[in-house]
């Protein structure tokens, strides 16, 4: 009680001393804004001022109260400067619970270093991590950024998940003759537009927004955030003028950047022509060149020139045998050209969780380049950074989305193929010989296609034997054997196979008297994280659709007889199915368990979430069933 009084008194003093302190003290946040919130924007003013084709300024003033540890990332200020974006000034102020200023940090006190995963720096990172000895804590950020060259405008997020907003203003100021476009997403906050002489001013003023949640496995948070996207009509980056009013024009700009990057030497052209001379069709030729790329070139990240938008020349890659996604794709395009096959670059956003691309709102929000060879049917798609994908396969980081195809006539928005669970098939067959002591020898053969294959080729295939054993046991929660001997496909076969021979001192899980309890199979066939919740708001996303087919056969020694086998199980939903059949063959003393799991759809509608939970429960229950054997 004592504490409460003293805080009250102090608060009174603080408030009466300076009414301005209102937004700096965590005690003055209305209760309605604290609900589901990890942080509250107290006051924010962001202004983007477009000056001309290639220069602009972004000014930010933000006061935010961090309520708990979940929002601690908001305490970290960082900015990546590059050739085109420069952090002009920055200042951070820190306030305690009562809104008393504790510290001020200037840009000088921040840490600056060059960053870049590749060989050359991509820019300069300036950062400062505000320490929060306790919560709540209020932080004020003031900074401005200069744009020296423009390809994209900044978007404004009105509210990220778990963030409440007390008051926030976003303004865009632009010369009237240099028009731009905006698109409001996931909300309906309309701007107030003022035209004054040659200056247009757009102002979004939002108040008292309560926090919203972001559910696990619901795709990219980008697709839920209330925001306004901005895009230029005309722009200039370095010396390269561009027009963003259509995908066609964006493609023209890319074409300009790629000019004079595709020449190969004549002897190399002959080399490629010779390489494919025995191939009958264009597809066969392309497959040969893609395989050559996969076996000889390697991915090295080098962001050079025009903000990482202009590639190394095809000749460089041809000679040095390395490049980044643009350079490798552009090289393969040139090699295909050399044998008379026309292909197109695809500019795309690569991630498992894709962002929606709006056909009617051209803007640059991409991070990757692919190649495609258009065909009347079954266009060939080539991921040039992968050494493992089969010819004309994309993985889930680029499937199911729109990308910009670059043609001689500019850009065209195209769809990459949709995922298909049948492409991601895993089939496992295991034979287990059980002695009358409950020891066992087991042999298993796994065949994988698609994502499962790709993951194993990238993470598992090159491991040493002991690491492979560990991965095998850990990744699928395989019952730990006493002896394990693994062999795999020698190369990058499709399907990829893993064969294992195992020995167990004790194959059953436990016993009670003369009853022995065995698992239906030696690993978990279904292992998805589907949170239990009463009410699901957003759709549920599996990483990718797939099917698993498992056959597990126990051969029992004399003495073991079936006391009980689980009932056959069949679970059928439009988006997923599970079927399991249990059979006992007295003559061969064999229990066979056949299971087929299909996750047919990648995205499950929120309305179907209770069905998904029911699916999970029924499959899990069946996996937890035991084969009950009686020993006589």
């Amino acid at each position: 009680m004592k504490n409460v009084i003293s805080i009250g008194v102090l608060l009174f003093i603080a408030v009466s001393a300076n009414a301005q302190l209102d937004i700096y003290s965590a005690l003055t946040i209305p209760d309605s804004l604290k609900k589901a919130a990890d942080m509250v924007i107290r006051d924010e003013y962001t202004k983007f001022t477009l000056k001309d084709l290639n220069s602009a300024k972004l000014e930010v003033h933000k006061v935010v109260t961090i309520l708990n540890d979940n929002a601690k990332e908001e305490l970290d200020f960082f900015f990546h400067s590059d050739k085109f974006h420069v952090l002009d000034d920055a200042e951070i102020k820190v306030y305690d619970l009562l809104g008393q200023k504790k510290n001020t940090y200037s840009k000088k006190e921040m840490t600056s270093l060059n960053y870049g995963e590749g060989l050359v720096p991509e820019g300069k990172l300036t950062y400062f991590d505000v320490a929060a000895p306790s919560y709540p804590i209020t932080v004020e950020f003031n900074y401005s950024i200069k744009f020296k060259g423009i390809l994209s405008f900044p978007s404004n997020y009105f509210q990220i998940p778990y963030q409440a907003v007390q008051h926030s203003v976003f303004e865009v100021e632009a010369p009237a003759d240099l028009s731009f476009r905006y698109k409001i997403l996931n909300c309906n906050y309309q701007p107030e537009i003022t035209k004054k002489g040659n200056i247009d001013l757009y102002r979004w003023d939002t108040k008292n927004l309560t926090a919203y949640k972001f559910e696990k496995h619901s795709g990219a948070s980008e697709n839920y955030i209330p925001k306004v996207l901005l895009a230029p009509n005309k722009f200039q980056l370095d010396e390269y003028d561009g027009d963003m009013t259509s995908w066609k024009n964006f493609g023209d700009w890319i074409n300009k950047l790629y000019q004079k990057t595709s020449e190969l030497k004549d002897d190399r052209k002959l080399f490629y022509a010779d390489m494919v001379k025995n191939a009958g069709t264009d597809i066969e030729k392309a497959a040969i060149l893609y395989r050559y790329l996969q076996n000889n070139m390697r991915y090295v990240s080098i962001q050079l020139g025009i903000g990482g938008w202009r590639p190394f020349t095809a000749g460089f890659v041809d000679e040095k045998k390395y490049g980044d996604c643009k350079a490798l794709s552009n090289y393969l395009k040139s090699a295909l050209d050399a044998v008379g096959i026309k292909s197109n670059l695809i500019i795309i956003y690569r991630d498992y969780q894709y962002k929606n691309v709006d056909e009617k709102f051209p803007m640059n929000d991409f991070n990757h380049v692919l190649l495609c060879i258009p065909q009347p049917k079954d266009t060939v798609w080539l991921e040039c950074t992968s050494t493992t994908l089969p010819f004309s396969y994309l993985d889930e980081t680029t499937l199911n989305r729109k990308g910009v195809m670059i043609t001689d006539n500019g850009g065209v928005l195209v769809n990459t193929p949709k995922s298909n669970y049948k492409n991601n098939t895993e089939s496992i067959r295991t034979n287990i010989d059980v002695t009358d002591e409950g020891e066992a020898k087991a042999v298993t053969s796994c065949k994988l296609q698609g994502e499962g294959r790709d993951i194993l080729l990238m993470r598992f295939h090159d491991m040493k034997d002991d690491e492979k054993r560990k991965y095998f046991i850990m990744s699928n929660e395989w019952k730990q054997p006493d002896i394990l001997d693994i062999t795999t496909s020698a190369g990058k076969g499709n399907p990829y196979t893993v064969d294992a021979k195992m020995a167990y001192e004790k194959i059953f899980s436990f016993k009670a008297g003369n009853k022995y309890f065995f698992e239906p199979r030696l690993y978990r066939v279904f292992n998805e994280d589907i949170p239990e919740t009463e009410k699901r708001v957003s759709d549920y996303y599996f990483t990718y659709p797939y099917q698993s087919i498992d056959t597990t056969v126990y051969h029992f020694a004399q003495g073991f007889n079936v006391e009980n086998l689980p009932k056959d199980k069949s679970v059928n939903f439009s988006f997923a199915t599970y079927n399991c059949v249990y059979k006992w063959d007295m003559a061969t003393r064999t229990v066979s368990v056949y299971a087929a799991l299909q996750i047919k759809e990648r995205i499950i509608a929120a309305a179907d979430y209770s069905k998904l939970l029911s699916f999970k429960k029924q499959v899990t229950d069946d996996m937890n069933e035991k084969l009950v054997m009686k020993k006589e």
């Binding site: 870049g116 060989l119 006493d482």
Partner: protein, 636 residues
């Protein structure tokens, strides 16, 4: 700690015998056998082999600059698998401030076999070598060797120049991939005397040639990877390290000798002893709290908690102050040294006997007490005395109690830095990790249940559990059980503020038990958080480190409804290692409709030598089998 074998450490002076270095193929000249090689014969399955790894260090006196250390490096790698391709992207950071270090004379070459079996070279071009500044102090040279694929042998060399002469870089003979030939050559003027420390588990040749240069050579060194429950790979790498002990030059004499001398230097150092003299301002609230303290112990506790809650650790280790304790206190964010300097300073202000303690965390490796190498340490903690009672405290750790020795320096040696009473001390403690779980589960006629549990986390378990709770991860941890689906309906905690009492969690939960074929299964190990067996690998190189002794006690009872009965009374189990350092006991009892059991698991040793691995592995396998056992019920 006698359970650990100290891995072989040798200390010798730089007096060596015998012949000089082996003849190596010249740069870019690769044997056909190496180009055709498909696997590593002494470490099968490796993704690549370092065929040659050579460093040659010389000291040179340069007019107007002084002594320079110059190291010429040469690395030759054979790529065996695709996962090693990124090794042909080379990045080397160096300390470029004031041109203290510089990298030059870089050249590189890749060698492949062409279709007709001839060796073809591709040279690294100068223009493909990048030199970028990382921050104010460091720069990085980076390049990608051309034409590297599976089967390629690539090679590069460079020269590193350093203005300082007081240190000789250590040399790792061992890496994550196998090394076929590794040699370190030192050519040191006779004025400089260094002592040498070797860490090895296989033969290391030391030679001296006619020019008085010393060679350290190892051959066929297998790769070393991380292993679970170990103090970290770095402390196990086979290597050789050096420390300057004496300079005996004309007109110059320097001897770095004793711990006493090191302590004196440290106390006079502006960033160590000097840092401690600075004032920490704005601690009136602390003074208020201290005015109520009746004993020294209470004072220690108050000050420790004050610094612990006010300061945020930036994850940096180190033994010197960064920008002084004033700046650290101002920003409330600092490295381990500054946070503990503040702690020491505030303790001293309150007339508590507090001294800086130089320590080396287990991950940093054990220090060698015989040779006073300052570089062995990686952190400062507080060494506090209250009569006969000693406290070792690290206020950078958010949850550790003032009364508990920080686990990462437990059983190590450390240096108390004090001109009068300093010296090396061994850090010991009888602290352990203790987890006690009591639960009652009431089953209904449909095999659904409700239950309640009390979990007590004491000792080292306390801070781990409290941090799980504070980061809102406790619920999901408690719901993660093998063989039963548990939903935690409520959690309340006790003694959160009083770190001298166990952290008590009271939970209500519900769920349904698993069943099959008319049988129902009850697990023993609820809420243990023991997960899956970590020891699945066949072999092990590093010692097993459990950090501290651990004890788990689970006391549980299942109350059955009328219509259920136990199918077969489970056996009592007692399992122990021959030396009784791990004991597992499970006793089960059935009275009417109540099954009660007690499950204790006592690890009385904090760790084991690598040679014990087969026994530990076997014990863990059996232990997890016991944990996986179920009480089997059926309906009447």
């Amino acid at each position: 700690m006698n359970l650990y074998t100290l891995f072989t450490t040798f200390l010798i002076g730089l007096c060596l015998s015998s012949t000089a270095q082996d003849k190596l193929p010249s740069f870019g000249q690769v044997d056909k056998a190496d180009l055709e090689m498909k696997d590593c014969d002494f470490d099968p399955g490796a993704e690549a082999i370092v065929l040659i790894d050579v460093g040659e260090l010389k000291f040179a006196y340069v007019e107007n600059i002084g002594w320079l250390a110059e190291v010429n490096y040469r690395v030759r790698i054979k790529v065996l698998k695709a996962s090693a391709l990124n090794r042909a992207q080379v990045k080397m950071a160096y300390y470029s401030k004031n041109r203290n270090q510089d990298i030059s004379n870089i050249s590189g070459v890749s060698v492949n076999l062409d279709g007709s079996g001839n060796a073809v070279e591709a040279a690294l071009e100068k223009k493909s070598i990048f030199n970028k500044q990382i921050d104010k102090e460091r720069s990085e040279v980076s390049f990608a060797l051309p034409d590297v694929r599976i089967g390629t042998v690539f090679e590069y060399k460079y020269k590193l120049t350093k203005k300082s002469f007081g240190t000789i870089p250590a040399w790792n003979f061992q890496q994550s991939i196998p090394v076929r030939y590794s040699a370190y050559n030192l050519f040191i003027p006779e004025y400089f005397k260094f002592t040498v420390q070797m860490t090895k588990r296989q033969e290391m040749e030391s030679k001296q040639d006619k020019y008085k240069s010393a060679w350290y050579i190892m051959r066929n060194v297998p790769g070393l990877k991380d292993e679970p429950y170990s103090t970290g790979r770095d402390t196990y790498l086979q290597r050789v390290e050096f420390q300057l002990s004496k300079i005996d030059a004309p007109n110059y004499y320097y001897e770095k000798g004793t711990w006493t001398k090191i302590i004196e230097e440290l106390m006079d150092d502006e960033d160590f002893g000097g840092a401690l003299k600075k004032k920490v301002k704005g601690t009136d609230d602390l003074e208020m709290q201290l005015s109520n303290a009746k004993t020294v112990r209470e004072k220690i506790r108050i000050i420790y908690k004050y610094v612990q809650s006010n300061m945020q650790w930036n994850d940096n280790y180190g033994i010197y102050s960064d920008n002084g304790i004033k700046d650290a206190w101002d920003k409330k964010n600092a490295g381990i040294a500054d946070i503990n300097f503040i702690l020491i300073r505030l303790l001293q202000n309150a007339d508590v006997d507090a001294k800086p303690l130089l320590a080396s965390t287990k991950e940093n490796g054990a220090i060698n007490t015989i040779f006073p190498f300052l570089r062995q340490f990686n952190c400062v903690m507080a060494y506090v005395s209250d009569g006969d009672k000693r406290y070792i405290m690290n206020a950078a750790d958010k949850y550790n109690s003032f009364d508990e020795v920080p686990y990462d320096v437990l059983y190590t040696n450390a240096l108390v830095v004090d001109k009068a009473q300093g010296g090396v001390v061994g850090i010991n403690s009888d602290g352990k990790y203790s987890s006690r779980i009591f639960f009652t589960v009431r089953l209904d006629a449909d095999a659904k249940f409700s239950g309640n549990a009390t979990l007590n986390a004491a000792g080292y378990a306390r801070n781990i559990r409290e941090s799980t709770y504070k980061s809102s991860k406790l619920k999901s941890l408690l719901e993660d059980n093998e063989g039963i689906a548990i939903k935690v309906d409520s959690i309340s905690v006790k003694n959160e503020k009083d770190e001298l009492l166990p952290f008590e969690q009271n939970i209500q939960f519900s769920g349904a038990i698993q069943s099959s074929g008319g049988y129902f299964f009850l697990p023993y190990g609820l809420f243990t958080g023991m997960g899956k067996n970590p020891f699945v690998e066949d072999n092990r190189v590093m010692d097993i480190d459990f950090d501290y002794p651990k004890k788990f006690v689970i006391t549980g009872s299942y109350v059955l409804p009328e219509n259920f009965t136990v199918s077969d009374l489970p056996k009592n189990v007692k399992m122990l290692l021959p030396d009784t350092s791990i004991v597992l006991i499970r006793q089960t009892q059935v009275d009417d409709n109540i099954i009660s059991f007690r499950f204790t698991l006592d690890f009385s040793a904090p760790g084991y030598a690598a040679e014990s691995y087969p026994y530990i592995k076997e014990f863990f396998k059996k232990m997890y089998e016991v944990l996986d056992e179920r009480i089997v019920l059926k309906k009447k």
